[in-house]
Symmetry: none
Subunit: 208 residues, 2 copies
DNA sequence: ATAAAAATACCTAAAACTTGGTATTGTTAT
DNA sequence: ATAACAATACCAAGTTTTAGGTATTTTTAT
């Protein structure tokens, strides 16, 4: 008889999670024991349930899935983690590896490959997809480069959303106005935006 | 006996589409007759298959789902279209309406709501969710002066949210930059705000 | 018809943002 | 150890916004 792997799905897109449940329900060696929409829900659930595997979306509003994975692996290394993401760039895959995950699956893969990947991981082999075309500049369209942001940069964004000038932000954080300006510049560059106004809209539309 | 609605799912994330198929397979009044990962595949499929409904993701690599919806509705208005998106901002929902779609569902909704929405749409009622942004404080009594805004002022706000300078907005609307500046000033005054940045946040938090 | 509101247009000075740099000090990953 | 990233700080020129106005024309409602 086959193993019965207990799986928790973590994704802020409930619809995607609902779909995943049904995909895994096709097989009788998986059992989804829970769905969480954010890290808080996950930690809550982990108090009462011990999964064998966590399927973790790395872009969730307000939560950085990579950091979450890192924390999970630090305290519960025995739980396997497969990251799910709409990014396929080699950079993100590498960040995924560094966060301690056992696998990385882009959302462009299909149901069959997911099932195969889970079995691979549960049998002890990490699976990190080779980006199909490393030359291709990953064009995210609706996607978000927000995961590229550092902690301080996310903090700066909060002040921008509140309408703080760089001077006011600098005073609040006890750093130089020049530093705030540099952070702002770097944020715009990373997110490929042209102004703070675009940034604010971006922040709201991407739950930053 | 219930209707048997023929559905095509269009999403570049195969995994999401695979999940949707299984969600719809729960019910016997839906039948997924195809999955497409882009507009080309969709048009191909439409040569041989006539669906009752198309579930259309609006963010697909290389394809603008909104434009696709607009084109579809122009040539095949009898086919219902429900847009799916990870955005919940009022902007995008409105753009969805303008593209001729019959409904708009964010990916944060769950399987049950999707099924309900499909039935609503197939029975002739359009469904456009009122997005509830967790950050949004629904506090109409409390001090939203937004009702004071004129039509033109609301229009100006849309350009501000898109990051347009007053000069660029003026060119777009064929009016003087001074006029745009005056509108901006009046908007800030009416809403008791101090900067365009605050205005943008206000706009998102009050579904403007 | 007429008052109120909306939309238009103009002026100026100060403050803030944008852009294109350079550069040092820590920390992290390989 | 050494490359890459994060956080810090600085400079300058040009653009945009902000805040104080005034003022005319068009639309809307009573």
């Amino acid at each position: 008889m086959k193993e019965n792997y207990k799986v928790i799905i973590v994704d802020d897109h409930q619809l995607f999670a609902d779909g995943m449940v049904r995909i895994l329900a096709d097989e009788d060696d998986f059992e989804v024991i829970g769905i969480c929409n954010n890290s808080t829900e996950l930690y809550h659930m982990l108090n009462n349930h011990k999964p064998d595997l966590i399927m973790l979306d790395i872009q969730m509003g307000g939560t950085n899935g990579l950091e979450l994975c890192y924390d999970l692996k630090k305290t519960m290394p025995q739980i396997k983690v497969i990251l799910i993401s709409m990014f396929e760039s080699i950079n993100v895959v590498n960040e995924g590896k560094n966060s301690g995950a056992n696998g990385y699956i882009p959302k462009t893969t299909d149901a069959a490959l997911v099932k195969k990947s889970i079995r691979e991981v549960m049998e002890g082999r990490d699976i990190f997809i080779k980006p199909i075309n490393p030359e291709t500049k990953v064009d995210l369209e609706g996607g978000s480069y927000a995961f590229l942001l550092s902690k301080r940069e996310r903090e700066i964004i909060l002040y921008i959303k509140k309408g703080f000038t760089s001077k006011a932000t600098a005073e609040e954080l006890n750093i130089s106005q020049f530093t705030v300006d540099t952070h702002r510049k770097n944020i715009l560059k990373k997110l490929k935006l042209n102004s703070l106004k675009e940034l604010i809209s971006y922040a709201y539309e991407n739950n930053l």
